[in-house]
Point group: C2
Chain length 258, copies 2
DNA sequence: CGGACTGTTGACGCTTGTCAAAGCCGGTGG
DNA sequence: CCACCGGCTTTGACAAGCGTCAACAGTCCG
């Protein structure tokens, strides 16, 4: 449900992968993925979507299923980039830190997203699970070798990386030029299905939202209150959020004059 | 000479293409590129570097040489994305605007850079020449068709797009978390060769720097003065800039405590 | 010489950050 | 069942960094 296609001006554009509708829970520890790929619920939302069924085993040989607990790290900035990830379920935050502790979350990744697209020798950012995450982990070297046999893998990654770049451009506009209220409105429109009448619980806390929008926790909280008092959103005691006035919220998000 | 490899924290990472050393000026109007490719000064800095000499004619068939005057647009946000560009000389700015006129420059592109990497149906940003620009213009549809014959083209673009993404992440950290002084220091380190003793003239004006760093012209100007007064840089009357204290400037740029 | 453009500097105000405290909720243990 | 504790969120008072408005200086060019 997160990340909807909005108008161009800075409301976040479409994501790299579509969220999958539902994902039956199967208690998977750590194992090779070979036997699972064909019937995998993420069969057509991930990297494997680039291949035909008969070619899946070759890809599966380079992959492993993993479950990452909330708060655990998928990767750490500066470590050798051994793996490439494909999120199947859950949410993780991608971030960079400054030496004195200031943090910028450059993006949240959910089902269907790739992690590790920038192909440098070392990871360029840290990634931490915001809620429990299930994913497919690929060995980078093995994956690169498969590019020769299956150019469609490279095509899929090129499209995904290009989309990430567009999202990044929108986020630069947000961080460089939007007010706190405009940033929060943009964020909510990207994460909450506007037509949905029941409340949506965001997986990340106020601190993560602040680090994503380049603000402080207090400023985020104050602007939540402003949006609520103006009747644009509703917030339940369980922190479930509903968009009440989508038009008004969009107007704020794109920075329409006054 | 612009864009040097810095430490990780937020000083902009390496660019997608290396700047070429020198580029002899030839008054080229508008013509097919076929006869020029083999001897082109950008032969090994652009898209053509992905191909062997004997395969160049096929790529050249989809390309045209162009010269874009300072202030002219390469593309406009929202227009159908017919072309793909490879800069050979000069500097251009990539930007997005909000309806009320606020502008965010998401990047400057120089020799070796690709423009139009995010493969959407419409251009996602506007691009304007900051100084006269010479470039190779490719027809997108024709280029896509060549991907089948020459997968190495796709590989080159994937690497380039990945690098752009890393640069974008660094810029998000800059825009979201760095002070005005830290932003300017980061920018100067990316654009001026630190070891160079003679002054460097930046191709863009204060307004463009402000739009790139998410600041105003006045704030940029004030922080130039601060860096100069602290003895970190020198500025001649012709607006040529020299880095005097690279260590100190780097310390500010990465946000080292105090 | 005069006008346009770019860059610099100053005074002031507003948005946002900082510091502090209180409310709310869930979990734990008596 | 209730008291207590810890984390997260909200709210308030205040300060600081940056934006806004305005004036002025330097350069280019007619």
């Amino acid at each position: 449900m997160p990340f909807h296609d909005m108008v161009n001006h800075g409301v976040m554009p479409v994501p790299v992968g579509l969220a999958i509708a539902a994902m039956p829970y199967r208690p998977i520890a750590e194992q090779g993925a070979g036997t699972h790929c064909a019937g995998c619920a993420a069969r057509h939302t991930g990297l494997c979507d680039a291949l035909a069924d008969r070619d899946l085993p070759e890809l599966a040989a380079a992959a492993q299923w993993r479950t990452i607990r909330r708060g655990a790290l998928l990767m750490t900035e500066g470590d050798p980039a051994r793996y490439f990830f494909n999120i199947n379920h859950g949410t993780a935050k991608v971030y960079r830190d400054l030496p004195d502790g200031r943090r910028q979350i450059t993006g949240f990744v959910t089902a269907g997203y790739f992690v590790g697209l920038g192909m440098a020798a070392d990871y360029s950012a840290s990634v931490e699970a915001v809620e429990d995450v299930r994913l497919c982990r690929f060995d980078r070297a093995a994956l690169r070798a498969l590019f020769v046999t299956f150019p469609s893998l490279e095509r899929t990654l090129l499209v995904a990386t290009g989309n990430e770049l567009l999202i990044a451009q929108a986020q630069m506009l947000l961080l460089g030029r939007k007010s706190a209220l405009e940033r929060l409105a943009s964020f909510l429109l990207a994460w909450i299905e506007p037509a949905r009448l029941t409340g949506t619980r965001l997986p990340m806390g106020r601190g993560d939202i602040a680090d994503y929008l380049g603000l402080t926790i207090e400023t985020v909280s104050r602007n939540f209150t402003i949006l609520r008092q103006r009747g644009l959103i509703a917030i339940s005691t369980e922190q479930e959020i509903t968009i009440v006035d989508c038009t008004g919220l969009t107007g704020i998000a794109i920075g329409a004059a006054a």
